[in-house]
Every structure is written in structure tokens, then in C-alpha cells.
């Protein structure tokens, strides 16, 4: 079997810490999202993460909440997001993960969601509020469709639980840098290198670190620690500066700053 796009991308970045930028689909428009994905590809990202807007994003701070509210006012639905990824996929092999909450998946039906995502060229899925012990049929549906299920390890996760999380993990492990919601410095962190090392004792999967990484300096500190850093709310803030003008350019420039910091 051919390696998945995620496996191939991490293999190509071996020895370097890659960048995984996040944007909320439909903020400020689906066309802009498509252009941003292309910009991330040009800027040398390892993969991209696309947020499906949800009405009640309990794991997100104000930046991504407002981006979701904007997209929902523009009536961006799950199918629209997948269609945008399909358009991107027609011209790029950059891996794409979607980040969502359980309810949009439950509503569409896990099997239908997984199959549609696969057909659109989605490589992985992160479901913020779905722990491995819930909804066995959902996890199986993604396995059956061949979409990687990326699980999260939190600073509060007990060590004896880590193997259970990793058993359900495909593609790469998402190590949360801190407690709390996206885009905020508050919360408990602990030693990130220690957490990454702990995860590596249990898995050969690549480890990406995210939550609260907002600058080139933040990213540089994780260079050589993680296989990738995930940056979300800081990109959203670049869009929010002026959603109507120059958003794609600012996002691309910030992505280059981050890849530069990680390379330096």
C-alpha cells in the first residue's frame, strides 16, 4: 500500500520541524480559504488544518469563535467545506486535515461524513470533543474510509491513559501545549519536551504540538522537539486585521515567517 499523504509529508520533513497552519473554512469566504490553502502550500507547510465552523465551539477561544460565527452567518456548511478542499486537492498534494466537533459528524452520519471527506481528498480528521471511549462506530467509519483519526494528548492526560489514546491515533499525534482553549496564553502547560518524549515512548507516529503558539519565537522553541507545530488562532488574527483586504497576503507572509523560524 502506498504511504498516505500525511506519512509521506512527515517523511519528507524528517529531521526538521514542519508547520501545520489552521484556518476556519469560510472566513472570510470559501474562495479566500482556497487561496490560503494554496498560499500555505507555496510557503512550505507540511500539512494544513481546516476548521469546519460549528455553532458551539467549546474548545475554541474568541478568535476562532468569531471566525466560526462569521462563516455560519455566510451559511457555510460541512458540504461546502469539503467541496472547497476538493477544489484545492485538484491542484495540490499537501495533506489536509479537518477539525470539527462531534455534532456535525453525528448529524451527517459518521460513515457518510468519512466517505465524503475521503472523496474530497481529506487525509485526516480531528474531532475536538470525541474521546476514544465514545462512539466506536464513528472511529471505525474513518478507518473504513481510510481517513486518519488524529487524537489529542492533553497536559492533564494521565500517563496510563496515553496508550489508549495512541491506539486510536492515526497519521500523527496532536500534543496540546497547554490546557484551555485555542489562541490563549492562559492555562497550565508543564514541560512540552517531557510530554513529547513520553508520547514517543509509546508510539512511532510523528508528534505535532499546538495550542497557544502565536509567533516565530514560540515556534522556534519547539524546533527539534516536535515533528510539527500547529498554529491556528494567530492566523485567524491576521485575517481579522482586515477581512476584506490583504488577508491571503498576510496569512502567506506569516506562514513564511514561521517556516523561516523553524528552519533557522
Amino acid at each position: 500500500m502506498n504511504p498516505s499523504r500525511l506519512e509521506a509529508a512527515f517523511a519528507a520533513h524528517r529531521g526538521r520541524t514542519g508547520l501545520i497552519p489552521f484556518v476556519t473554512a469560510g472566513y472570510p469566504s470559501l474562495d479566500a480559504t482556497l487561496e490560503m490553502l494554496r498560499a500555505f502550500d507555496r510557503a512550505g507547510a507540511l500539512a494544513v488544518e481546516v476548521g469546519i465552523p460549528f455553532s458551539d465551539p467549546i474548545a475554541d477561544g474568541p478568535d476562532i469563535q468569531r471566525a466560526s460565527e462569521w462563516a455560519l452567518r455566510e451559511r457555510v456548511g460541512t458540504e461546502d467545506v469539503l467541496h472547497t478542499i476538493e477544489r484545492f486537492r485538484a491542484g495540490s498534494e499537501l495533506p489536509v486535515e479537518v477539525m470539527t466537533y462531534a455534532n456535525p459528524v453525528v448529524r451527517m452520519g459518521a460513515a457518510a461524513f468519512a466517505a465524503r471527506a475521503k472523496a474530497a481528498g481529506v487525509d485526516g480528521v480531528i474531532i475536538s470533543d470525541l474521546p476514544p471511549e465514545e462512539s466506536a462506530e464513528t472511529w471505525k467509519a474513518f478507518d473504513d474510509a481510510g481517513v486518519d483519526t488524529i487524537t489529542l494528548v492533553a497536559p492533564t492526560t494521565d500517563e496510563d491513559r496515553v496508550p489508549d489514546l495512541l491506539r486510536r491515533c492515526r497519521g500523527f499525534v496532536y500534543c496540546l501545549a497547554r490546557t484551555g482553549v485555542t489562541g490563549q496564553g492562559a492555562g497550565y502547560s508543564g514541560s512540552i519536551p517531557d510530554r513529547v518524549a513520553l508520547i514517543r515512548t509509546h508510539t512511532a507516529l510523528p508528534v505535532a504540538v499546538g495550542f497557544g503558539i502565536a509567533s516565530g519565537d514560540d515556534a522556534r522553541k519547539l524546533s527539534g522537539v516536535a515533528d510539527a507545530v500547529i498554529v491556528g488562532a494567530a492566523f485567524i488574527r491576521r485575517i481579522t486585521e482586515n477581512p476584506a483586504q490583504g488577508a491571503v497576503e498576510r496569512v502567506e507572509s506569516f506562514a513564511r515567517e514561521l517556516t523561516g523560524a523553524l528552519a533557522g
Binding site: D56, A59, E69, L72, A102, A154, V181, G187
Partner: protein, 398 residues
């Protein structure tokens, strides 16, 4: 024991409902809470502290009375379980005392809560003050406007009230914000969830703290009228007062259990908070249950004149009781609830909460069909002092 009729599995599932749908960061805290609660249940000292505080601080037991003049209006015999007489004005304090005691056991110095009508917020603030805990209450800004008196009560009780401007600015958004606080400060904070909602173990734990309602009512009704009531009626937002009343009677098939949801401007208008008629399964705020949502799985805005019922998810155990036919669910509109509010006030000298007025409204509507000998026990879950300004406003007198 009758409670065994409805017992979840080890993961907190009632059939297809319930469970623990939360970000990984919260899993540890939920497991800690579950362990601590299991230990506390078997701890005589905890039970003694709980019983004493419920008696001396909250004012339990609350009486059951026959509402004779209201009965004439309803066309059946109506009895009231007087949870409105409790300290802070509603049943909510049963749960907040229990959870504050648990917080002390877990060694956490800070509690947070969401509130809709403000009753749970006030009950949390009062219990937190009593036990010396720092307290932050999240409240939608629309609810804070509707329930200004309760906002000031919480502040006087030493709580910080944070108004939430997101979404519909009501209870759902307050829960979102409380969860965000908890996921950030989970190590020193306990989230006192206010209804039989949210991730396991909350639906079970909150139910257990309210079971005292039904246990008392069963014995009191027997002493007052002999035997069992024919019908139990309670309003259902998340459903904590209803489950508290129903649970002691779940083994009694002869006793009808009716939960009354908020029909707002009417089911057909779309402006309501009745989850059972659409029977749409979804995941919200940590639990799988019946919710109001659109075709994309986005949670819909709800409407009710009563802030405490203005919420898109039904407690998962209620969803299960409904599917099993162990309880039935109906609804009452804003107008019906307002008429019942006025009726109880004038006929019995009791201002009922607008939430509880939905249960009274069902009784006024259905009483004649039940007949003059039918004995209906209504859970008067809260008092209506907090609602006076809103009632005057919506009836054009304010």
C-alpha cells in the same frame, strides 16, 4: 429499589444517550469527579454534612400541600411540592450544596457555574459563600437583562458574574463559556453544572442530589392523601427538577410522569425549546441527547419566556425515559405559562417561577380530561419573585 429502572452503564450511557463527549483536557477531571462522588456516596460523614446542610441551610424538607382553589380551576385535584420554599428560591440548591461539598473534598478552591434564569447561579453563589469557595457565574447577557434581580443577588453573595455576549446570549452560550473556563483552569476549579446535562457523571450526580424531592414527596403525599398520586408533572429545561421528582416513582407504572417543555410561541413557529417533538439526536455540551439543530448539525436558537427552559438540549436520561415509555413529554406555550402564573398567584397566594408555570399550565389544560378525582402532584420547582419584572414587561404592564 425503583432507581434501578433507569441506571446508566459504566460510561454514563442511558441506551444511546449520555456519555462523555468532551475535549481530552477535561477527561481527567471527570474521572476524578466520578471517583470522588462514588467515595462520597458511601461516606457517612459526607452524607451527614449533606443532610444537615439541606435541613439547616436550605430548609428541607419542603412540604406538599393541596391547592384547592387552583384545583377547581384545573378540574382535577392538584397537589404542590413546595421546592419554591427552599433557600434561594428553587430546587437548584439541592445540587449546589452537594457539589460544593464535593469540591471541598477534592481540595479545589474555586467553583464556576452557568445560569439561565439565575436560580442555579444564585444557589451556587450561596453555597460557595457558605463553604468559602471562590465563585464565578457565567450568564448570557440577554438572560442577565431578563433576570436583573438575580444578577444583583449573586453579586451580593460574593460571586463574580460574567455576562456572555456570544451567540444567542442565553443559557447555551453561558454553558459554552463555563466549559471554556473549566478546560483552562481545570486543575483548581470545579464546574458546578446546574442540570441533568453535560458529560458523565453530571447527569447521574445531579439527579441523585435532587432525588430527595421525589423521596420526600412520595411519603408526604401518602400521609396527606393516602397512596400514590395518579400523575406527576414537572417542567423540563435540562430536566433536573423533573428527574428529581420522577425517580422515586419510576417503579410505579400506575403513576403517569409528565415532563413539560417550553413551547414558546408554539411548536409550528420554530420559536420554542421543545426537543421531544422533533426527536433529533445530537451531541451538545458533552452529552448525546435530543437537541434542536439544523440540517448541518448547527445548534438552533431557542425561545421561551422562561430563561430556565430556554435551552436546546434535553437531559439524556429524559430522552431515554421518553423512548422507553417510562415518562411522557408534553409542552406549554409562553401564553399558557403566563396564564398559569397569574392563576396560581391569585388562587393560592403563591407566585410560581415561570419555569414551574409550564407544569401548572399543563395541569390547567389537561385537568378536566383527567377528571375531578384525579390526583396530580405538580413540582413547584421555584418561586416567581425573580420573574415579576419580566411578566410585567411581556404582558405590557411594565
Amino acid at each position: 429499589m425503583s432507581a434501578s429502572v433507569s441506571r446508566p452503564d459504566a460510561g454514563g450511557h442511558f441506551g444511546p444517550y449520555g456519555g462523555k463527549f468532551v475535549p481530552e483536557t477535561l477527561i481527567h477531571a471527570l474521572e476524578e469527579l466520578e471517583r470522588e462522588y462514588e467515595r462520597a456516596k458511601g461516606d457517612a460523614e459526607f452524607q451527614r454534612d449533606l443532610d444537615e446542610t439541606l435541613r439547616d441551610f436550605a430548609g428541607r424538607p419542603t412540604p406538599v400541600i393541596e391547592a384547592k382553589r387552583f384545583s377547581e380551576a384545573a378540574g382535577c385535584r392538584v397537589f404542590l411540592k413546595r421546592e419554591d420554599l427552599l433557600h434561594t428560591g428553587a430546587h437548584k440548591i439541592n445540587n449546589t450544596i452537594g457539589q460544593c461539598l464535593l469540591t471541598k473534598r477534592m481540595g479545589k478552591p474555586r467553583v464556576i457555574a452557568e445560569t439561565g434564569a439565575g436560580q442555579h447561579g444564585v444557589a451556587t453563589a450561596a453555597a460557595a459563600a457558605r463553604f468559602g469557595l471562590e465563585c464565578v457565574v457565567y450568564m448570557g447577557s440577554e438572560d442577565a437583562r431578563r433576570q436583573k434581580l438575580n444578577v444583583e443577588r449573586m453579586r451580593l453573595l460574593g460571586a463574580e458574574v460574567r455576562e456572555v455576549e456570544a451567540g444567542s446570549r442565553t443559557l447555551k452560550d453561558a454553558v459554552n463559556e463555563a466549559l471554556r473556563d473549566w478546560v483552562t483552569r481545570v486543575r483548581d476549579t470545579h464546574y458546578i453544572l446546574g442540570s441533568v446535562l453535560g458529560p458523565h457523571p453530571f447527569p447521574v450526580m445531579v439527579r441523585d442530589f435532587h432525588r430527595v424531592i421525589g423521596i420526600e414527596a412520595r411519603a408526604q403525599f401518602d400521609a396527606l392523601a393516602g397512596g400514590l398520586p395518579d400523575v406527576l408533572v414537572a417542567c423540563v429545561g435540562g430536566g433536573s427538577n423533573a428527574i428529581g421528582l420522577f425517580h422515586a416513582f419510576l417503579g410505579d407504572a400506575s403513576v403517569r410522569k409528565v415532563g413539560v417543555e417550553a413551547a414558546g410561541h408554539g411548536i409550528a413557529s420554530g420559536k420554542h425549546a421543545a426537543r421531544v417533538p422533533e426527536h433529533s439526536v445530537g451531541v451538545l455540551h458533552g452529552t448525546r441527547t435530543l437537541i434542536l439543530q439544523d440540517e448541518h448539525g448547527m445548534v438552533r436558537e431557542t425561545h421561551s419566556v422562561s430563561a430556565g427552559l430556554d435551552y436546546p438540549a434535553l437531559g439524556p436520561e429524559h430522552a431515554w425515559l421518553n423512548d422507553q415509555g417510562l415518562a411522557e413529554y408534553s409542552h406549554a406555550s409562553d401564553d399558557e405559562a403566563l396564564a398559569a402564573f397569574e392563576a396560581l398567584s391569585r388562587l393560592e397566594g403563591i407566585l410560581p417561577a415561570l419555569e414551574s408555570s409550564h407544569a401548572l399550565a399543563w395541569t390547567l389544560r389537561e385537568g378536566r380530561k383527567l377528571g375531578p378525582n384525579a390526583r396530580v402532584l405538580v413540582n413547584l420547582s421555584g418561586r416567581g419573585d425573580k420573574d415579576v419584572a419580566e411578566v410585567l414587561r411581556v404582558t405590557g404592564r411594565g
